[in-house]
């Protein structure tokens, strides 16, 4: 392999695989957050039957591997093409975790504040969204970014249903360049940069939020 071949591989991953991975992460992230926060809030409110159904969903989420969900959604044609199948599978598998994080964070806020809100005759949703949620979001942020990192790594599984993101892009490059070690090391490098970046950002955010929460103005 010449130096030029290396350049071709990097360029292909950078201009093709990486944007597709990011496209997958973006759509799944938005949907995961919407469902996760909604379900988490519902579980926090402990609405009788809904709570049991969501508990079961959380159990299924934690028990079934992403790749099985991916195959199931794709082979059943629920999502149509590979892209939406992957988005649906990732959302299904990750929203359960976000649900648990959100529920835990909401419950971690001092519940006397809820009673104080009730004493002021504030509505239930107002208490949740304007009193509890702002404090809970600070507590939940590091865990949610941790989940986002798992989501980024999870997108690699979309390669098994034929969606050309970073991993699949690497596999396809194998037909032209036979050096599998080098290609997969480049692919790993891209994932590492993405995830490492998120970890560093998470640490930074955690630092800032803690300072904000304890009232230290920078």
């Amino acid at each position: 392999m010449t130096l030029h071949d290396n350049w071709i591989i990097i360029r292909s991953l950078l201009t093709f695989g990486l944007p597709e991975t990011l496209r997958l992460v973006a759509a799944s992230l938005v949907l995961t957050l919407i469902f996760g926060i909604l379900f988490g809030t519902l579980r926090y409110l402990k609405i009788p039957v809904v709570d049991n159904i969501l508990w079961l969903y959380g159990l299924i989420c934690r028990g079934i591997p992403l790749i099985v969900v991916m195959f199931f959604v794709f082979a059943d044609g629920v999502g149509g093409g590979p892209y939406w199948s992957a988005v649906i599978a990732l959302t299904f598998a990750e929203a359960g975790y976000i649900m648990e994080i959100v529920k835990g964070a909401l419950a971690s806020v001092d519940q006397d504040q809820v009673r104080a809100g009730e004493a002021l005759a504030l509505s239930r949703w107002f208490i949740v969204w304007r009193v509890v949620a702002p404090q809970a979001s600070i507590a939940a942020m590091p865990a949610i970014i941790g989940q986002l990192i798992l989501l980024v790594k999870g997108t690699a599984v979309a390669s098994v249903i034929g969606f050309t993101e970073l991993t699949r892009n690497g596999q396809e490059l194998l037909t032209t360049f036979s050096n599998a070690v080098l290609i997969y090391l480049y692919v790993l490098g891209f994932y590492f940069l993405l995830c490492r970046g998120l970890t560093v950002f998470s640490n930074f955010l955690h630092h800032k939020l803690t300072r904000y929460a304890i009232g230290v103005t920078p």
């Binding site: 028990g63 992403l66 195959f71 199931f72 490492r196």
Partner: protein, 220 residues
Amino acid sequence: MDFNFYVLRDNVGAYLSGLLTTIEYSLVAILLSLLWGAAVGVVIYSAFPLVSRISRAYVMLFRETPLLVQLFLLYYGLPNLGIALPASVCAAIALMLNEGAYIAEIVRGGLDGIERGQVEAAASVGFSRTQTLRLVLFPQAWHSVVDSILGMVSIIIKDTSLLTVITIMEITGVAQEINARLFEPTTSYVVAAVLYLLLFGISQGVVALHQRRRSHDTAR
């Protein structure tokens, strides 16, 4: 989108062998990653000059990249360097290195949680380094990390599903093969999902059992 019972009836044997394969790889992975993770965790904790730094880099690299690509690198990449390992060995190594990195981080956290004064105290009564580790640090660290380690068990079981991409016929591989043969996606994957849930239920049962025993211990 129908559940057809004949698919399950005709393939009970295949699913059972897949289940056994999953259990086999899970057990191997749990054992290897525990030993490896504990060793790496201790090395990072002990802060040996160069080795700790390398171990830290290893943990970071394996935690921030997908297991799937690590499997590909070992299985399809190593033959390029003249090292052709069978799929089963690649699977064991990849799981050991990947899950071991997480366990190393857990173990290091557990050891860091113990105050350094105890290490000094042990040294002052003449304990060697290994004695300090074995008699002072490990028993306490074990107590604080055991929940996280048990949590890793269900993650490891789930992660073995990725082994299907390197031709190992565990539950997911079997389901895929059955679907390819009969084109019954709903049934073949739902059965696989149920089998995984069964394993998950067992691992959760072990966790619950352990927690109950522990609450008895502290109550006494």
